[in-house]
């Protein structure tokens, strides 16, 4: 009898227990389980990239080139998983643009990188002077061109020494910025403390609600940015044909992998932090709905197996890409509007995205 009673009691409290994720837990978990590990992973991958570029320049060979390209991929994707975290350290010191100047509508970065290579501008080969150069010539976009762009075959020849040295300096810059990001997220009295334990006298987060609003905003804006800057620009529209060379990292063949990294990073924050579980009983289904839609995004991405240039000419893969655009819109509404309202945040659209 007692056992039956206990079972009944457990059954009675089970649904309520599912909703006990507190805002404080969400904030703590977001920082300790998602943001900080993401920053550390990027730091480690960027460090690997720096070392690999050193090795390539010291001993140019097919082997060191393959390793350098592999490390480029690893570092870029690690960044792809955290680049939506546009708060705190990433927003300081022009780091977003210095890591990846994108979109680059006028091809500024390409022109500057080509000019540096053509003139063998020695100031681009040391970290200190490279950092003083245009933001468009010191990040992933520049390094992609060094490794994959026109003339990259020279990397294995003596005449490619300058090109390699420039790439080495860019990799060192990426590694340095990655280190600064990690340091910022672990700094005492830094953003991590403010985000997880807001106080009325903090300039950045005065209440748990503001901190929560920031996380929801990061997800909503992150999805919007992935669609608007990584997918839509290369898809055909009613007015124009597809433009596969508007895809990020098309030279390296990483366009779709970067989109996947973006989606994975945002999904990870949503799932691990439990942000969509910190809602009242009546909104308990929202967590599943959002996760289901993330699943749809991943399934659509899995269907795009060809390089972007061929994918945009393949009906099935174009359909998957178009579906991906729809799914991102749905995710943006689910998170930016429904989740926001379910969490009791100020959904008033004046503040959601200003003007």
């Amino acid at each position: 009898m007692r056992l039956v009673l206990i079972v009944l009691m457990l059954l009675a409290i089970a649904p309520a227990a599912a909703q006990t994720t507190t805002v404080s837990q969400v904030l703590q978990t977001a920082v300790t389980q998602v943001i900080r590990p993401g920053m550390l992973e990027f730091k480690a991958r960027a460090s690997g990239l720096r070392i690999a570029m050193n090795a390539l320049c010291s001993v140019p060979s097919e082997g060191t080139l393959v390793i350098a390209k592999g490390q480029f991929r690893q570092a870029a994707l690690a960044y792809g998983r955290i680049e939506f975290l546009r708060i705190g350290p990433l927003m300081e010191d022009n780091r977003v643009d210095r890591l990846l100047f994108w979109p680059d509508r006028k091809g500024i970065g390409l022109k500057q990188v080509q000019a540096i290579l053509a003139t063998e501008d020695a100031t681009a080969t040391s970290l200190a002077t490279l950092r003083g150069k245009s933001v468009a010539a010191q990040g992933f976009g520049a390094l992609e061109f060094v490794l994959y762009g026109t003339g990259a075959e020279a990397l294995l020849q003596p005449e490619g020494a300058f090109r390699c040295a420039y790439g080495r300096a860019v990799a060192a810059n990426i590694a340095q910025i990655a280190g600064e990001l990690a340091a910022g997220w672990f700094a005492p009295e830094g953003i991590a403390g403010h985000l997880t334990a807001p106080q009325a006298d903090f300039a950045d987060y005065r209440s748990e609600n503001e901190a929560l609003e920031e996380l929801v905003g990061l997800l909503s804006h992150g999805i919007e940015a992935t669609r608007d800057t990584r997918i839509n620009p290369f898809l055909a529209t009613a007015e124009r044909a597809a433009r596969p060379k508007e895809a990020l990292f098309w030279r390296a063949g990483l366009s779709m992998a970067m989109i996947r990294a973006n989606v994975d990073g945002m999904r990870r924050l949503l799932e691990q932090s439990g942000i969509a579980r910190a809602v009242a009983q009546k909104d308990a289904g929202l967590d599943n709905s959002i996760d289901f839609e993330f699943g749809n995004a991943v399934r659509a991405l899995d269907l795009v197996t060809l390089p972007v240039e061929q994918a945009v000419a393949d009906d099935k893969q174009v359909a998957a890409l178009n579906y991906l655009v729809i799914v991102t819109g749905s995710l943006q509404a689910l998170i930016g509007e429904q989740l926001s309202a379910a969490l009791g945040l100020s959904v008033g659209f004046s503040s959601l995205d200003g003007d």
Partner: protein
């Protein structure tokens, strides 16, 4: 005054199509006083015309999100501009006699959400973007010829936002926010590292640049967006900071046609509560006060234009829209509230729609 009677004859899509008895009563005792873009309870977009007591006189359906509204008695028309980077502007008859007409931006241009009529109501001007060149332009429309676009002139900067007509009736002041966007990339800001915001004075007769004012070089990431003109003809502006989040530059200042531009010192606590974001600026009826709002910080600040210091700080969740009201201001919010501050005699009201960033006083 815009008389309510004509609304009863209103025809056209979504234009006060069906009035409830209470709304008819509202029409009986009201004249049009306020206008604002809104988001409706159903998630759609529109504009509302409100009476002195906040009574809903009429609503207008919009195809997408609107932003600011301008009205000319001389033209007998009001215009709702699409929020940037929108491609429509809706011309409506505040007296409800004729159905609204939708303007579409011309190829290579989109609207920025703000505009004004010429004093005689014959021309409509709108801030627009020549997005391929990343240059702002003022589009010119002939109100006497079906709002045909008859030309444009440059704003001498990127990302123009609000524009106002100076009291002299011939000079425009335009806030070039400095931020480049392009329809290919949605609302993504493309040039944060190289932004170059400015306040420009332009002769509306020939588009000639009368003067261009910039804040000091270290403040190039301070986007100048919204403005109001005080009793002495000074142009007060509010900014949005796009630099490092830990920095807190001053956000409110004024510019004059004599070439002066300066930021005023708000106390640190007030400044911090604005959250690096001013969403709208309005001047009081006597021009002795300006008010600024921050929907990010839920804050409204009224500033004495002579003493250049705050005289009132009030909180309003999601508050953004501001307009002169009585001796003070009316403020509207993205949560659907309307309140009076700094001398406005007005009870707090709540509506079933959400106010967009700006509210216009018509009367």
């Amino acid at each position: 005054m815009w008389q309510r009677r004509a609304f009863l004859k209103a025809a056209g899509a979504g234009f006060a199509a069906s009035l409830l008895p209470q709304q008819v009563l509202a029409l009986e005792r009201n004249e049009l006083v306020f206008a604002s873009s809104v988001r409706t309870a159903g998630g759609g977009y529109g504009a509302v015309l409100l009476g002195e007591r906040g009574d809903l006189i009429a609503s207008i359906a919009l195809p997408d999100r609107g932003h600011d509204i301008t009205i000319s008695r001389e033209a007998g028309r009001g215009v709702v501009f699409a929020r940037q980077p929108g491609t429509f502007a809706l011309v409506f008859d505040p007296a409800g006699r004729e159905a609204p007409v939708t303007l579409t931006s011309v190829e290579g241009r989109h609207f920025y959400g703000h505009g004004v009529f010429s004093p005689d109501g014959r021309l409509l001007y709108a801030t627009e973007s020549d997005f391929e060149a990343a240059q702002g332009v003022v589009g010119i429309y002939d109100a006497t010829d079906g709002y045909r676009r008859i030309g444009e002139f440059p704003t001498y900067g990127t990302g123009p936002h609000e524009m106002l007509l100076m009291p002299d009736g011939v000079t425009f002041v335009v806030a070039n926010g400095g931020i480049e966007t392009h329809p290919d990339f949605g609302r993504t800001e493309l040039n944060i590292d190289t932004m170059d915001p400015s306040v420009v004075f332009i002769d509306r007769r020939d588009g000639r640049l009368v003067g261009q004012l910039r804040l000091e070089a270290g403040l190039h990431q301070l986007s100048i967006r919204h403005m109001a003109i005080d009793g002495r003809g000074r142009v007060w502006f509010g900014c949005q900071y796009k630099g490092a989040p830990g920095e807190s530059p001053q956000l409110v200042g004024y510019a004059t046609m004599d070439g002066a531009i300066e930021l005023v010192e708000l106390p640190p606590g007030t400044l911090a509560d604005l959250r690096n974001y001013v969403g709208s600026v309005a001047a009081s009826a006597d021009g002795g006060m300006v008010a600024v709002s921050s929907p990010q910080g839920d804050l409204l600040v009224a500033i004495d234009t002579e003493g250049k210091r705050p005289v009132l700080v009030e909180t309003l969740r999601n508050g953004c829209g501001l307009a002169a009201d009585g001796a003070g201001f009316v403020a509207t919010s993205g949560d659907g509230a309307m309140i009076g501050i700094a001398g406005a005699e007005r009870e707090r009201q709540s509506f079933g729609f959400l106010f967009d960033n700006h509210v216009l006083r018509v009367g």
